[in-house]
Subunit: 223 residues, 2 copies
DNA sequence: CCAAAAGTGTTATTGATACACCCATGC
DNA sequence: GCATGGGTGTATCAATAACACTTTTGG
């Protein structure tokens, strides 16, 4: 079973790519970078980089986050590994993908007429992407939707404190359905994952809302 | 962001490793191979091999199955990718792991006193393993347990036709709890995933049992 | 005082669970 | 005829879903 003819084996490059979601103005958005160089110069792609020496996969994913966004508070989990030959040109590359969530933060918007190197795109208005990044993105969206249904994963999309209506809105956007307010609040508070901050949000011409936080910023599964 | 100093990048080996489960005599078992060579000569490990040229990850996983077991009918899904530096000695290796399920089949048992190259081990009697295979195995068991709870994944552990009591037994073993017979049958038949074969099993000194099959041998999620 | 979002309980429906006896066969 | 697993229905309980009005604020 051991074959020493090295030409039969791949010595592929290994990259770590990042599907970073946020929600802004009621829409799920994904972070894309504009490629200056070949392959696929001029196309958009999800951020990524080659794995470095001595670096774990998680560390590489974290580094990609830092290099592209500088965002500190985010949720990060390994998603899937793509390695079909022919998914890239021309070299064989294995790509370990990560799913990440962050509260909305703007990135420098380019002057109109020019192109930003880094932008949020609404997930239903994605341009042509490099490599097989469209497939990766589809996979990530499905995972996010599924996991939102049975976990508190959306905490990654919210700032540290938030109104219950903010939380509800996140679920409604991701699951793409409306939710009854009273039932939602009841269930959420019953999970015991939330904590009143004592502080009230007093923006807007209406009754102030209590701000809550998640007791623990880590994934917990319901059911 | 692009750095051309190649020494900063890994050119790691990529392996595809397989956690193959079955159930036998009421116990979940995992397939292990005995390592003849270093590293970890003399230890047991889960089967795997280096990725070959032109081969997709799924194809490599399938090849590993064929080379080690020859089993044709099995369930196979990508599990997780392990790539910490230091998980192997001495070279850096990225391992894409797969979870697989198969109906019980015996493999040649060695004459007592000698060691088989390939054996089923009950998952609660696992010996010291090579590399980080213990971690991989733990991860796989958790995934199997979780997924059994909300999918028909156990079809991979059963032959094409089976009695409802066989199916129930699978769930009981994996979920490690007893299930009410009438409720189980009701729920299972209500899913619409099962189909009577019309054939009855007439082994044993008792009333013959109807044999069923899954209409489709692919994963379907309940709820 | 008007608009806008916050906050709050009860009822109806649905799904999940608990539970016990007769049936068909081989030996 | 006895031991073994196959096969079946109902009643209770728990969880989910439906539903509308009052409160507090800013302008």
């Amino acid at each position: 079973m051991v074959n020493t003819k090295s030409h039969e084996y791949e010595q592929p490059g290994v990259t770590v790519d990042l599907v970073l979601f946020t929600i802004h103005e009621g829409k799920p958005m994904v972070l894309l970078t504009h490629r200056a160089r070949d392959p696929f110069a001029g196309r958009w792609s999800i951020p990524g980089d080659f794995l470095r020496k001595g670096e774990s996969l998680d560390e590489a994913a974290w580094r990609v986050v830092q290099e592209t966004t500088g965002v500190q508070d985010l949720y990060l989990e390994q998603l899937y590994t793509f390695g079909d030959p022919g998914r890239n040109s021309p070299a064989r590359v294995i790509t370990v993908t990560y799913l990440a969530l962050t509260p909305w933060k703007p990135f420098a918007q380019p002057p109109s007429g020019t192109t930003a190197a880094l932008t949020w795109y609404p997930i239903d208005e994605i341009p042509e992407l490099a490599f097989d990044h469209h497939e990766i993105l589809t996979y990530a969206v499905n995972r996010l939707r599924a996991k939102a249904g049975y976990s508190n994963i959306v905490y990654g999309l919210l700032p540290e404190t938030f109104r219950l209506s903010d939380l509800q809105k996140m679920y409604e956007i991701i699951l793409n359905k409306t939710i009854d307010k009273r039932n939602f609040r009841k269930r959420m508070l019953e999970t015991g994952l939330l904590q009143e901050t004592g502080v009230k949000d007093r923006t807007g011409a209406h009754r102030p809302a209590m701000l809550y936080r998640f007791k623990q910023r880590e994934v917990v599964y319901f059911d």
